[in-house]
């Protein structure tokens, strides 16, 4: 006896009206009904943060929200971070530059949490970064690089660990080196 309920939401700046099953989570609807598969399904108990999306200007674990609860709301998924022209957001570019992306599975959630942290605290301390991202687990244990990437984008942030950024640049060749210059430019 699946109850279908019409909802209206704005997803990544696009208004949408459709029906959802009452017992489907926002995560299921984003992935299965809207084909926005950047948001990942993982622990399904609110521990790992892989399903993090922005709902009405706050990040949430979309596995712990019923889709129907989002009715009338505004949602941003990781697909909505980059510009319309595909230009990566500064935090996405920083994740690349600092080698924060390893297997990549947790990264959509990490990006949404990092983006949220920087909106609330434009110049976070390392402790604030760790607290802001405490709801996002990385099994590759790329936490140091993730923290560095957030610091690199922070207002007035000091480019951390030049060695690591330089290593990444050297191993990735010229394109990455150019990106590194951009990251440094953001620090000024």
């Amino acid at each position: 006896m699946t109850q279908l309920i019409p909802i209206e939401v704005t997803v990544n700046a696009r208004p949408r009206s459709f029906e959802v099953a009452a017992h489907h989570t926002l995560l299921e609807v984003l992935r299965d009904d809207l084909a926005l598969t950047g948001t990942k399904e993982c622990c399904l108990v609110g521990e790992c943060g892989a399903c993090t999306v922005r709902l009405n200007d706050q990040i949430v674990d979309s596995c712990l929200v019923l889709a129907v609860e989002a009715d009338g709301g505004t949602i941003t998924t990781v697909e909505g971070l980059a510009g319309a022209d595909g230009q990566l957001a500064p935090i996405q570019q920083a994740f690349l530059d600092y080698g924060a992306t390893q297997c990549g599975f947790c990264i959509p959630g990490q990006l949404m949490a990092a983006d949220d942290l920087l909106r609330r605290l434009p110049s976070p301390t390392v402790e604030q970064i760790q607290e802001g991202l405490a709801g996002n687990l990385c099994r590759c244990a790329g936490y140091e690089q993730i923290t560095e990437a957030v610091q690199a984008v922070a207002e007035g942030g000091v480019a951390p660990s030049r060695t690591r950024a330089a290593d990444a640049a050297a191993s990735a060749g010229g394109a990455r080196a150019g990106a590194r210059t951009n990251a440094e430019g953001l620090d000024q």
Binding site: I5, T25, G46, E47, I59, C63, V68, A113, A134, G135
Partner: protein, 287 residues
């Protein structure tokens, strides 16, 4: 997840009518951070889920009414942790709300939900016990108020009756101010359930209130009105004897995976002393 019918009442009376009609087959959803996990694993199987977030009477704004600070049933942990009045006057509650789950969880999880789930490890319960908060409940027979201490029975069980809905949690503003602190022990920093969660409050008359959770089937409140515990000038042995008596009812489960009973009891003492010292210091700073 098993299918259920979703209801979105816009008045408290309508929500109460639904809960009264369906009884144990209905579940309230506020933040959903506990409920959706249990819907998914099948440990609760309601036929109706009642979403109370679209009820204007359950305004999430924290407000002062008649000498009480009113926290609505839909107020989330993020807003409680950030509220200046709570940070100043009910510091242990602000500290507890700030460590529940993660940012993502705190943006959804409500104080009312934390209480209604009656987890022995609920981080906000000890501070609400210390402040002698009351839970405001609407039911088929009208409104009633339940002291938080009279709400908890055991894990997952409260004294709420069929058809009753928590509408607010109220903190008294007309009592002597307390210096207070929340402390907890987790297995890892960041997002984890507490192995011990504890709050302490000390007021100018020397009364010390201590409440602790995750060391028994429900959180407990104990009080020392002798003034000895609140006075750091008293002999250490006298104060320790009082604290020991206040902790005798802790009975951690052998079966919990998070920590052994011995470890929990040892940490209960450590956190008790820490919270007490912080509460005394904060009271002195206020005066």
């Amino acid at each position: 997840m098993r299918a259920f019918s979703y209801q979105r009442p816009t008045a408290i009376a309508d929500a109460v009518a639904l809960l009264a009609e369906h009884g144990p087959d209905a579940r309230v959803i506020a933040g959903g951070t506990d409920l959706i996990i249990r819907l998914r694993d099948g440990s609760v199987r309601p036929s109706v889920v009642v979403d109370v977030k679209r009820i204007p009477e359950l305004d999430p704004a924290i407000r002062e009414v008649d000498g009480r600070l009113v926290i609505g049933a839909t107020t989330v942990m993020t807003d409680i942790a950030a509220d200046e009045r709570i940070r100043r006057r009910f510091t242990a509650l602000a500290e507890a709300a700030a460590v529940v789950g993660s940012v993502q969880i705190r943006n959804r999880a409500t104080l009312a939900g934390n209480l209604c789930n009656a987890s022995p490890a609920a981080d906000t319960a000890p501070s609400l016990l210390v402040y002698e908060a009351e839970v405001v409940v609407a039911g088929p027979d009208g409104m009633r108020r339940i002291p938080v201490d009279a709400l908890f029975v055991r894990s997952g069980v409260t004294t709420l009756r069929r058809g009753e809905l928590v509408t607010a949690i109220e903190l008294p503003l007309d009592r002597p101010p307390m210096g207070s602190a929340h402390q907890r022990r987790t297995r890892r920093r960041g997002h984890d359930l507490a192995s011990v969660t504890l709050a302490c409050g000390v007021d100018a008359s020397g009364v010390t209130r201590l409440a602790y959770g995750s060391v028994g089937p429900r959180p407990l409140l104990v009080t020392d009105a002798s003034g000895v515990l609140a006075d750091p000038a008293r002999p250490e042995a006298d104060r320790a004897a009082i604290l020991e008596r206040m902790l005798v009812d802790a009975s951690p489960s052998e079966r919990s995976m998070r920590a052994s009973p011995d470890y929990r009891l040892a940490m209960l003492r450590v956190l008790g002393w820490r919270a007490l010292a912080t509460a005394i210091r904060r009271l002195a700073a206020e005066e």
